[in-house]
């Protein structure tokens, strides 16, 4: 390439440089909405919240006052609700993400089997995903209420009937059920992955006399492992930001006297107090802006760490066709 450049006359080189500059100007023009948004909605707020996290900044009319690591020290040593919210969040991620993947693969696998009626089943499995989170939460508040349909069904089969959102032991499992109801979007990705597995691999395995489990374990699983990885990363990133369902349900089931009264926070007994709910309470109900910023950065570091661990572990269990990435 370099030698070709040397042979060009100065005028042509100039023209080429001008073209390159014009191209960059065009790119800049096309990228400009994102560039402005990136600076305004990401870069500045990130630095500002990092700064706020080292300050005491109470109330919208107040101003930040540098206090060093005080917010972080308080969080780790004097705020039991920080730890409780973190424990609850880790619980929902560790239980919810694998179950979602398992059910996603399972339902997608079921969908690959029938020769007829597949589009009906796919529709049935997928429709709950379309239900807005607030509506789905209100629906489950009703379905799992002590005289609701699930309770009736469990009584019919003489199965012990938990109080779900009224019982600190069962509130998180109730939320997991709600999450699994919306497994459809995960399922669709797995369905595409399953249908993409080349059929000659299965035919070869059939010739060698492999049984169904062996085929699943040694062909299907490796072939869909990139999608499992993708779902795990997305699940962890969004799982740590779990908010809407828990907020709606705690307020709808709780014993307080009105929204924002604080008494329904994490109802029952703080069992649904998740990280972002405590952060929201601190930041936008108590307006401890510095403390909320510190919590946000701790969340960010935790999410990054989990994502990195997943990525690091991925080359041991994720199989990439053609070996790129």
């Amino acid at each position: 390439m370099g030698t070709v450049n040397l042979e060009l006359s100065p005028a042509r080189r100039k023209a080429r440089r001008r073209r390159a500059r014009r191209r960059y100007l065009t790119v800049l023009l096309f990228m400009s909405p994102w560039i402005i948004g990136f600076l305004w909605l990401y870069v500045y707020p990130m630095f500002a919240s990092l700064y706020f996290s080292f300050t005491k900044y109470d109330g919208l009319l107040g101003s930040p006052r540098w206090t060093g690591l005080t917010n972080y020290r308080f969080m780790f040593t004097h705020d039991p609700l920080f730890w409780q919210s973190l424990r609850n969040t880790i619980w929902i991620v560790i239980v919810g993400v694998p179950l979602t993947i398992l059910l996603g693969v399972g339902t997608a696998y079921v969908l690959t089997k029938p020769r007829r009626g597949r589009s009906f089943y796919r529709l049935a499995f997928f429709v709950p995903t379309m239900v807005p989170a607030v509506a789905a939460s209100i629906a489950f508040l009703f379905l799992l209420n002590p005289s609701g349909p699930i309770d009736t069904a469990l009584r019919f089969f003489h199965i012990p009937r938990p109080l779900w959102f009224q019982d600190p032991q069962w509130s998180k499992p109730g939320l997991v059920l709600l999450g699994l109801w919306g497994v459809g979007s995960t399922m669709i990705i797995f369905l595409a992955a399953l249908l993409n597995v080349p059929s000659h691999l299965y035919e070869a395995a059939d010739i060698e006399g492999a049984n169904a489990w062996q085929k699943f374990r040694h062909i299907t699983l490796p072939m869909i492992s990139p999608v499992i990885f993708f779902s795990a990363v997305i699940g962890v990133i969004y799982g740590f930001q779990y908010f809407t369902e828990a907020y709606v349900i705690a307020q709808g089931a709780g014993g307080g006297t009105g929204p924002g009264s604080g008494s329904s926070l994490g109802y029952p007994l703080g069992s649904t107090l998740f990280y972002t709910i405590w952060l929201y309470q601190q930041g936008f109900e108590s307006f401890h802006l510095g403390y909320a910023s510190a919590m946000a950065w701790v969340l960010f570091v935790i999410v990054m760490a989990c994502t990195l661990v997943l990525i690091k572990s991925s080359n041991r269990w994720v199989y990439y066709q053609g070996g790129f990435r």
Partner: protein
Amino acid sequence: MGLLPGGVPVSGATVSAPIVRTRRRSAEARRKDLLSSVATHSVAIGLSAMFLLPLVFVVLTSLMTQHQSLTSDLIPHPIQWSNYRDIFNEQPMLLYGKNTVIYSVLATVGVVLSSVPVAYALGVIEWRGQRAAFLLVIATMMLPTQVTVVPLYLIFVKLHWIDSLKPLIIPAFFGDAFSIFLLRQFFRTIPGELVDAARVDGANELQIMWHVVVKTAKPAIVAVALFQFLYCWNDFFLPLLYTVNNPRIWTLSVGLQQFTGAHRGVLWNLQMAASVLFMLPVIILFLLAQKAFIEGITLTGVKG
């Protein structure tokens, strides 16, 4: 609904099969096929019931009297259609609906208008630093909302945008990482010859984007618009954050949540009616545009 479709061909095939040995073997194979078909459909029907019954119970309860909705009855008796009228008296549903539509439509327009050129620059034009820029766009998706929310809130306070829909709508006009990602993935599948041919014909990038890429990528743009619309329709955290003190601009999400928080477990029938009204538009939208939705979701799982 196609229950046990394997049952039909068995009897029909035995008549036409010419050789006895093959017939017996194929009958056995068919019995096995039938059994596995029964098993598959039983599992699939069971799962369908588990996914659909919650919706059935919600609809049934939305037609009950308030008294009956507090009992463990499953079937409404009598059927009280008036719940669907009463909810409009109980809650300014039309106002919430209007706010939700304003937010969803304007934000969707904003995201599509701003994300298409960015995706074009990242997927069609070739330039040094493109890969790094693309990774930066992706990286913003990984950033938890909470990291930026406090300073953004303070900016919107200074701009006097709090308690209006502006903080929800205006940022949508500055590109959305997920939409950019999705569009870029699709743009890259457009054959380079199409773009090059247009360039040779003397079209500038804007013309190529509009006449070649946007026209070819219509399904992807529809999918992005649908996703964004749905996202806004469902959105709760940011509408709660920015509008909670002004009930005049609550979206359906915020309005229904506040309604539920204020009437804990006493107005199940009206809450279910409101939920049905809230989910109906997006379910209908999904049924109408099922293909675009599913293709779009599948596209997110594709690496590029």
